[in-house]
Symmetry: D2
Subunit: 150 residues, 4 copies
Amino acid sequence: MDIKTKLRGDYVQVDAVAWQPFPEAFSTGGIKWKLLHVSPEVGGWTAIFACPADSSFARHIHVGPGEYLLTKGKMEVRGGDQEGGSTASALGYGYEACNARHDQTSFPEDSEFYMTFLGPLQFIDEAGETLAVVGWEQAQVLWAQQTGQG
Amino acid sequence: MDIKTKLRGDYVQVDAVAWQPFPEAFSTGGIKWKLLHVSPEVGGWTAIFACPADSSFARHIHVGPGEYLLTKGKMEVRGGDQEGGSTASALGYGYEACNARHDQTSFPEDSEFYMTFLGPLQFIDEAGETLAVVGWEQAQVLWAQQTGQG
Amino acid sequence: MDIKTKLRGDYVQVDAVAWQPFPEAFSTGGIKWKLLHVSPEVGGWTAIFACPADSSFARHIHVGPGEYLLTKGKMEVRGGDQEGGSTASALGYGYEACNARHDQTSFPEDSEFYMTFLGPLQFIDEAGETLAVVGWEQAQVLWAQQTGQG
Amino acid sequence: MDIKTKLRGDYVQVDAVAWQPFPEAFSTGGIKWKLLHVSPEVGGWTAIFACPADSSFARHIHVGPGEYLLTKGKMEVRGGDQEGGSTASALGYGYEACNARHDQTSFPEDSEFYMTFLGPLQFIDEAGETLAVVGWEQAQVLWAQQTGQG
């Protein structure tokens, strides 16, 4: 058996990190992000997102659970309150369960949220066919490119 | 906040459960399986597989980590020892890391292994395009159909 | 095998929930908290803490990893920068690794942080002897009592 | 943010590893074990145990969930079938839930089982006071000493 060492902690001064564009393949309206942490052992990742009014994320399935803290603005999840989903307002906390399908996640006003993910997001088309599986590894590759750490 | 209850334990008398065919979309050579447990909160699942000589699993990525105990026979993972992977022989234990890609998992003799999975298997084609994402939910739907619990 | 259902999401309007005192057995200086979520399957829990100037948490070990977002003020973890730990300033993100020992976590000014925990906190004395193991179940019992949901 | 690398897989030829005594502080009757894997990020660990007739484990709480495959013999969990628990017979699979308390785990005949643990075992006295918290780190320290890898 391989002897393993304890992990050490990480710290990121969030407001000192520049926002980067979140890919247009997965969002519209100019969403930006900062990747804060990845957990390669179980495939976790943590990020903060800035979402201008009228921006949205493309249709996806949470392959594992995710938890968010909405620190600013409003987020309509699964269509929002009007369509059986949730409309979150800052300061709001949400738990999105494993296998939750989000056909529409949109921001009626300028918003920011912090989110911890276990496992990837599976972006899908309307029929449920997979377009991309984006997890800690893909997130980190993108972030490294965007910040010149590649 | 929703108040939650503790989970209770489960027990399965494994040898009293009949083998079911594992889908040919994901395997060749007559692999059979028994689903033993699913963990809906984090997307874990546990199964035991019976793999005849010359059977194999289709190309896949482990979206989360998996651990196996090979109780009978031989399993060639990631091409086997000859190609930089592992050749497991009973009694063998293996840890397949999050994001491990298994282009070829084959059984040169009649074999059985027990495996715990966190997250789904992402079956892919040679170019890496997703064919199917098979996790606890899809596994349970199949098992329920096969055993008349649907 | 028991057939299981998918979990559903939760939402908490954080600013509409009243602060409750965090137990003095585990903190000094008037720390308050709101429990936001528990995950009984893996023993995860999520809370937000308000920590007045000069408050602190008692010595503890993180039995699993934890991630925090410091939304206000300053937090000195593992003695702070001056003693080899971290001094977090809002807006700061921290990852505390599995088995991290925090002999001193203190707040030099009024602060707030949100934290997701996997597994319990093991409160210990100076010699490392266990005083209490406080996880999702104990957290939920306390919260239910404090909010009349018991 | 620290850029992290993917983990690699591990393999252990289980039958080529010598059994070591499991500590008498936590068991009676000559239980032996082999540690197969540790997962430092989330505090998981995996081991196989050989339990002679009339051996037993001391009273403990599973701080996270655990899954076992009983490959030989019989195991009485939580008092066995006669007292509302489970009596497992090879080949048997069991899921022990997060926070399960096992006042008595005993083996009426020579038995072996393989188990994956998330989080530590909290050994307790009859009144529920903590005697020891034994997780991946403590397990690995012991194993490294027993096998000369310290």
